[in-house]
């Protein structure tokens, strides 16, 4: 009896923890499946049912025609889109925080709207533009589209950082004989760097994983998400799971490593 009551109390106190962990499990379950099925040896074209353990796919990740080509294309597009969106977005963020100018409200809406728009609407309307202009769909149209929808996210990330920056730091730099350019280079930029990095990382992730907008504006060019989409119709090679698992592991290791380095640096300084 006592045991039951105390268990009840324990359960009540930790209800939120249990619910939270269940949600976490729901979030991670597909990744577990992806990982497990990267060691599968399916019968037939689709990799949906477990057959037998095999490391074939891990030994030959590029063994499917077009897979690694699409991966490298996606990486290239993500890289250029990140560069473009970060440069344009950072400039806008600085202008918004640091200066007064006309049409501020209109500009704020123009930046907010792409984030409040279903992707399919942006994708469809951009396609009508390209069709009307007679543009050749491919690498360049994808890149243009990606810079467009990543831009707003970069602006938001950088703006938050620049806004929290003490304006007296720049005044102090000016007071200490740094001209406008030196002030920007030596003080503003280094302090805004974490915000810019966060924006860039977000842009990279969004661009790399984008499907809907790419689907409309790619023509016959195949990015990695497009490859996966196509394979869902034709047959899913195990290599897709290998790539998915590898990206997950690399991401987690990367974050853990940067945390460990950060911790160690802090400890040494303290």
């Amino acid at each position: 009896m006592v045991f039951v009551t105390s268990f009840k109390n324990w359960f009540k106190r930790n209800l939120v923890v249990i619910a939270g962990l269940l949600t976490l499990a729901y979030l991670l379950l597909p990744n577990v499946v992806v990982t497990v099925f990267s060691f599968n040896k399916p019968n037939g074209r689709f990799n949906y049912e477990w057959q037998q353990f095999s490391t074939d796919a891990w030994k030959d990740p590029c063994g499917v025609a077009g897979l690694c080509g699409s991966l490298s294309l996606s990486l290239q597009i993500a890289l250029w889109a990140t560069l473009g969106a970060t440069a344009l977005g950072t400039a806008i963020a600085f202008a918004l925080v640091r200066y007064r100018f006309r049409a501020r409200g209109a500009i704020n809406s123009l930046i907010f709207l792409p984030m409040a728009m279903p992707e399919v609407v942006m994708a469809a309307s951009l396609l009508t533009l390209f069709l009307n202009m007679g543009a050749q769909l491919g690498f360049w149209t994808i890149l243009i589209a990606h810079i467009m929808f990543c831009l707003s996210f970069v602006v938001t990330a950088v703006k938050a950082r620049v806004m929290s920056m003490d304006p007296r730091l720049e005044q102090a730099a000016q007071d200490l004989y740094a001209g406008p350019f030196q002030t920007f280079l030596r003080v503003t930029l280094p302090i805004a760097a974490p915000g810019i990095a966060a924006g860039a990382l977000l842009a990279f992730a969004l661009s790399f994983d984008d499907f809907i907008i790419t689907n409309f504006n790619a023509g016959s060019t195949v990015t990695f998400p497009m490859f996966v989409w196509g394979s869902a119709q034709r047959g899913t090679p195990v290599q897709i799971n290998v790539i998915g698992t590898a990206m997950f592991v690399i991401a987690v290791l990367f974050v853990l490593a940067s945390m460990v380095i950060g911790n160690r640096r802090n400890r040494r300084k303290a």
Binding site: D166, R168, L169, Q171, A172, A173, Q174, D175, L176, Y177, A178, G179, Q182, T183, R186, V187, P190, I191, A193, K269, A270
Partner: protein
């Protein structure tokens, strides 16, 4: 050190001269046209409650704020149009504004590097020694205590040998004990380097302890300028009388003049004050505010009134409240002329009869009395004055 001081004094170019300088934001005037000269090598304080325009004035000297009118001269050079990075002036910012991404060494070296000086090692090392932070050179600002950060801010500005060092509430973020210590420390550094310091503060005690000259500001104007003792003894406005220490202000009517003295009447009591210490026009029948500092007043029990020497101003009243402070006892006395007369008496021989309810005579030397224009608020500059309350509380 001495060579530096003499050299600057001989070239005579170290004065800060503000001529008709003003600042308006839309319809709000932060600083009314203002003339002010800060002599070379002095420790000058701008004192006032928050929002009185003292920081704006400082920022106009630094070049961080563009004046709406008037000019700023450093010595013979008109610097009004110069951006901050071209002015030979450096600032210790409120809450320091140390660069969080640079270590202490690089913070201090910042100004030298921007001016293209390659070998900064020796100078930075010596400057860090001056502020006793040699050990901390490679730490980041957030790893330092408030007092250490404050010293870095001073070092970072001083290393550039500015003609003027501007300090914007530099001690505001420190606790009381550290603040006292840093006041002495700053004063020592100033005497040592001989550079002109312009110090903005809302703390009247800080201004009086440190500065050679104090300008008391109120609502965008300089109310009075002078040495601390002069301001304290001869306030010319009720704001200065109340903001610097405490004053008892009594409304009175001018009765007559006898020689250099003015005789006034306050609720039946006759008071005398030197005409030279009356900043108001003393026409017979006119109103004046008569003031006296609480520590100048002696307190005698009504039974001993006969023993009070002739020629002293005297007012009778009843003790309303006493508080024992240690070195002194503070009395609040109810008088006909003034409901809450404050008296501070040194605790030498305490008269046990001076308890609440006791009838007393307050008396003081006419020489310690001052007169002010009666057209001003008696409460200006006190805690009851909304503008001051915030500054006092900080």
């Amino acid at each position: 050190m001495t060579t530096n001081t003499t050299k600057n004094q001989t070239d005579g170019g170290g004065d800060v001269r503000l001529a008709g300088i003003s600042k308006t934001y839309g319809s709000f005037t932060a600083v009314h046209p203002l003339d002010l000269t800060v002599p070379q090598g002095s420790f000058f304080a701008l004192l006032g409650a928050s929002g009185c325009g003292k920081t704006t004035t400082l920022r106009m000297i630094a070049g961080l704020e563009e004046p709406s009118g008037g000019t700023v001269h450093l010595g013979d050079q008109d610097v009004t149009a110069l951006p901050p990075y071209k002015r030979p002036v450096n600032t210790v910012f409120q809450s320091y504004a140390l660069f969080p991404h640079l270590d202490i060494y690089e913070n201090v070296a910042f100004g030298l590097r921007r001016r293209g000086i390659k070998s900064v090692k020796k100078q930075v090392g010596e400057m860090l020694d001056l502020v006793q932070l040699g050990e901390q050179a490679r730490k980041k600002p957030h790893q330092l205590s408030g007092g250490q950060q404050q010293r870095v801010a001073v070092a970072r500005a001083l290393i550039n040998h500015p003609k003027v060092l501007l300090l914007d509430e530099p001690l505001g973020a420190l606790d009381l004990k550290l603040r006292r210590q840093m006041q002495l420390e700053l004063k020592r550094i100033q005497t040592e380097v001989g550079i002109t310091f312009v110090h903005v503060t809302h703390d009247q005690e800080e201004a009086m302890t440190m500065a050679d000259q104090v300008a008391v500001m109120n609502a965008g104007r300089v109310e009075q300028l002078g040495a601390p003792a002069d301001l304290y003894e001869n306030p010319r406005t009720t704001f200065v009388a109340n903001f610097l220490g405490t004053s008892n202000l009594v409304e009175a009517e001018v009765d007559s003049r006898s020689g250099d003295d003015v005789v006034v009447k306050a609720a039946g009591d006759k008071l005398v004050l030197p005409g030279a210490r009356c900043s108001a026009p003393a026409k017979t029948g006119g109103k004046v505010l008569v003031g006296v500092r609480p520590e100048k007043i002696s307190l005698t029990h009504a039974d001993d009134a006969g023993a009070i020497p002739e020629g002293r101003n005297r007012i009778t009243g009843r003790i309303a409240n006493t508080s024992f402070i240690g070195v002194s006892t503070q009395y609040v006395v109810d008088c006909a002329a003034c409901p809450e007369f404050e008296v501070y008496a040194q605790n030498i021989d305490r008269d046990p009869r001076l308890a609440p309810g006791a009838e007393v005579v307050l008396h003081w030397s006419p020489a310690h009395t001052f007169g002010l224009d009666a057209d001003q608020s008696v409460l200006a500059g006190t805690m009851g004055d909304a503008g001051v309350a915030e500054g006092e509380a900080a």
